[in-house]
Symmetry: C2
Subunit: 529 residues, 2 copies
């Protein structure tokens, strides 16, 4: 078998356009070229391709058409364009084949065939991830197609809803916003909500263990997902689609598929516990003078607002300035002043007057004790939306501002903002360090905004940011996953013994490594097992 | 290697005393006898011993003493008595050796040695389980000790508590009640609470995925446990002891150890998210005329009490009568009348007056709409405790009433009580069918109380109860686990493909099968892999 090795030195976050100093070696039967693909945002990454994967043949395509019909086999380049690129245009693949199964049985047949033929597969939902987890890579052969995209977007039926228990069962391709709408009319909500809700799919949410805005209140998907159906690499269908809150009959294997980014199996159905929709939502937008006050305010909010607290978000003044500069129609709800930190607090409860009264008392106390320097309570839905828009508009504002280096970190609360300050001290003034995130969950979104991508800036950020996070026993990926971007950085957050066991489990469930290769686990480790 | 096979036909739930019709075969170097052990409550069970386990030698004991000192190696029969018996005296082992490590490193050294020597191990915490999961079995050789108990009760230190994030890190041997007391003084609570809190240990709680009284509000341990340290069969220490709410860096392997009943590794440390203690607790005790009203009341409670609802328990009139008859000083808080169902509702919130007002309005509405036929709101802590005592005293009342066949089931709410009615129709009048449980979680505790254990009664109950539950896609063990009692019944609640994968994972993590053998997974399946 031919051996090929590719080593890259990528010099910038690319836009699917170009490399500098790309180095590659190839020893085999054919030459190959790079077609504007970006595999990693890392200054220096060595990836080793798995040489055992086959190329796709006409026979394969005929077989897939037999299973799915012409409709389910997409080869049109225009149609494939969006499936080959992530939404930030940071990662670009070149797959020429996307399969769109409509049933679990079709997914099973496809995978069984791909496994037998050693065809590599990229499972894909809404393709809204931020770490390159759902984009195909290594399709460089000009004459051989190497990667099959399996998109479950056509599996989008709601299967059942139990309005006593609040249990929703649906197919993996259901768009989150559609599920939210479905539940809304029945007096329930999804336990997760995120900016990408208009495109992201529940199967993808589960596969990446999406966090989002409601985690503080309703917990992670490990707690709210009651059951799953997943298809293994060999086509075996695992029916774990329970609808029960309690089931202690053996190992709870659904958790293996929550957050494994499609590398252990393809999630095809989801059963999820949905909370009742509560009628009273209140939102306050506050300012704090220092980070210590933000922490204390969180503690107070947990204590005083306890059962009605549903969001505790923060942004620093650099983040606020960025939004004000780049998003049309946004204004600071607090009178012009120098505020260092802004906090958005949301409460959700069942009694409008009590909740408002409770929140007002809390805010009054926070003002009197000096934790909060200024603040405003939303008077209507429009004002509430405008407060949320500041927080939710940050990714868009950052994209408009130029180049952006994005880090999604969990850091013990007491240390979280130290990283931001140290990062500012390391970087020149032209790199704008912007911090915001889900403070209530200990989740910092650290963004370095710069006029353009620059090696020197990147070298100042990495590996420092990962090493710093690791020293504080933080997580280098709080909610985005590892994907391609951080697969080789897993050791910053996980012990070697744990990573070894992950690799063994990958080998057990997907011995040929066909599911989402080069993602999640370090490539060296996967090839060793 | 000698082959032995044992087949039992057990005729009653025994008290460690006797068998009838025990059948056994032995072909090997020695004869053996049964010493009053009870392996299963099943009418007919075939267990095949794993012949590859070694007997414990004097050299082994010397080695353990070198690691643990004399203190940590318990051979005294009196001291071993309680470790060899479950608290219901239903299962009885005969192990002659209990090890009491004080550190993770000691656990690691012990397991590494046991794995090399093929010594079978029973991990044990507070030994409060109800399915024989923590009791040693197969120690029948009169001259060979076959099973080592590893009791982690000496590992009982609280390691850290973060009062901003509410994250508690402690060793596995901490008794649940001690953790509750520790947190109480700091203004926090444990997210789980159960009747056995005075003895059960957090490591055991995690290993059995204990449910209990607060699951309705705070969810399962899969959601609240943030990190674990566990030792694998070969002595490898897995440091997964994160303290972060969000960490999406690879597979979240801690979930494998939550609920696997010590069969994949020994949990040595736990990191858990603890909710703030809220000051206002209110309790109502209500009566409903039929099961349909109970269901509707639950739906209303979720909607109207939403964020403050913390328990929704039920018992039927047979359960109430049993408590009144067998527990001293208990009285029905509702005036004498024929009530078919009783509901205990607890709310927990931060505002006494609002919560009470809210609960009163809810109860008034429930009375007016006819869902509730009578009800009373606890006026003080004593009255509140007396309400809880009715519900929590049921297991004790059942023990006092005579023989009891216990089933812990999750059943979709709409069908739950049908099973109770069908069971009553199957059984003679002398068998008293008693139903209670965590209605808010869909968890039914079905108990059949009889003057004495009787094959005829058991044959009327099993396999009917499991088949019925399976048909409704329920769980044959909602919160107690499978242990020894239901290991061979896993197929009633899990698909064959899922069970096969469980067995493969067991084989991967514990290739010699030394950890808690004969528990959780069907013995035939484990031996095949």
């Amino acid at each position: 078998m031919e051996k090929w090795r590719t080593s890259y030195r990528l010099l910038k976050f690319c836009n699917g356009i170009s490399y500098r100093n790309s180095k590659y070696q190839f020893s085999g039967r054919d030459s190959w070229s790079i077609h504007g693909k970006c595999y990693s945002s890392v200054a220096s990454t060595v990836l080793q391709r798995n040489p055992s994967f086959s190329g796709i043949t006409f026979d394969d395509i005929s077989y897939f058409k037999k299973i799915l019909g012409d409709r389910g086999v997409v080869q049109d380049e225009m149609a494939l364009e969006s499936a080959n690129t992530d939404w930030m245009h940071k990662y670009r693949g070149n797959s020429k084949l996307m399969l769109q199964p409509r049933t679990t049985d079709e997914v099973s047949q496809i995978l069984k065939y791909c496994n037998t033929r050693s065809l590599a597969v990229v499972p894909q939902g809404g393709n809204t991830g931020l770490v390159g987890g759902s984009v195909p890579v290594f399709d460089e052969f000009p004459r051989i197609l190497l990667k099959v995209i399996i998109n479950v977007g056509s599996m989008n039926k709601i299967l059942s809803f139990d309005k006593v228990g609040g249990v929703l069962v649906c197919e993996a391709g259901c768009i989150l916003e559609n599920l939210i709408s479905f539940l809304d009319t029945r007096g329930f909500i999804m336990p997760l909500d995120l900016g990408a809700k208009g495109s992201c799919q529940i199967g993808g949410n589960v596969s990446t263990n999406a966090g989002g805005l409601r985690l503080l209140r309703y917990g992670s998907l490990h707690g709210t997902v009651l059951g799953l159906e997943a298809v293994l690499a060999n086509g075996t269908v695992l029916d774990m689609l329970g609808t029960l809150r309690k089931d202690n009959t053996g190992y709870d294997l659904k958790h293996l598929f929550i957050g494994s980014e499609g590398s252990l199996g393809i999630v095809t159905k989801v059963s999820i516990l949905t909370p009742p929709k509560l009628s009273s939502v209140n939102i306050a937008f506050l300012a704090c003078s220092d980070y210590s006050s933000c922490q204390k305010l969180l503690l107070e909010a947990k204590r005083k607002l306890g059962e009605i607290l549903s969001a505790f978000e923060f942004l620093d003044s650099d983040a606020m300035n960025l939004v004000l500069k780049h998003l049309d129609g946004v204004r600071n709800p607090l009178p012009p002043s120098i505020h260092n930190f802004y906090i958005l607090i949301e409460t959700t409860g069942s009694n409008e007057s009590f909740d408002k009264e409770n929140l007002e008392a809390f805010l009054l106390h926070a003002m009197e004790s000096g934790l909060v320097t200024d603040g405003v309570l939303a008077q209507d839905m429009n004002q509430a939306s405008s407060f949320w828009h500041i927080r939710e508009g940050l990714p868009e504002a950052l994209m408009k501002a130029g180049a952006v280096y994005k880090y999604d970190l969990s850091i013990p609360l007491e240390h979280m903002y130290e990283l931001v300050e140290e990062m500012r001290a390391r970087l020149d003034a032209e790199a704008n360090v912007v911090a915001y995130g889900h403070l209530g969950d200990g989740n910092l979104h650290l963004n370095i905004s710069a006029p353009k991508y620059d090696d020197k800036i990147l070298a100042q950020i990495e590996p420092f940011v990962y090493e710093w996070t690791s020293k504080k026993r933080g997580s280098i990926s709080a909610e985005h996953g590892l994907g391609l971007m951080k697969a080789n950085k897993i050791h910053y957050s996980k012990s070697p013994e744990t990573v070894d066991l992950m690799a063994s489990i990958k080998k057990l469930l997907d011995p040929n490594g066909i599911l989402n290769p080069y993602k999640v686990l370090p490539s060296t480790l996967v090839s060793q097992t």
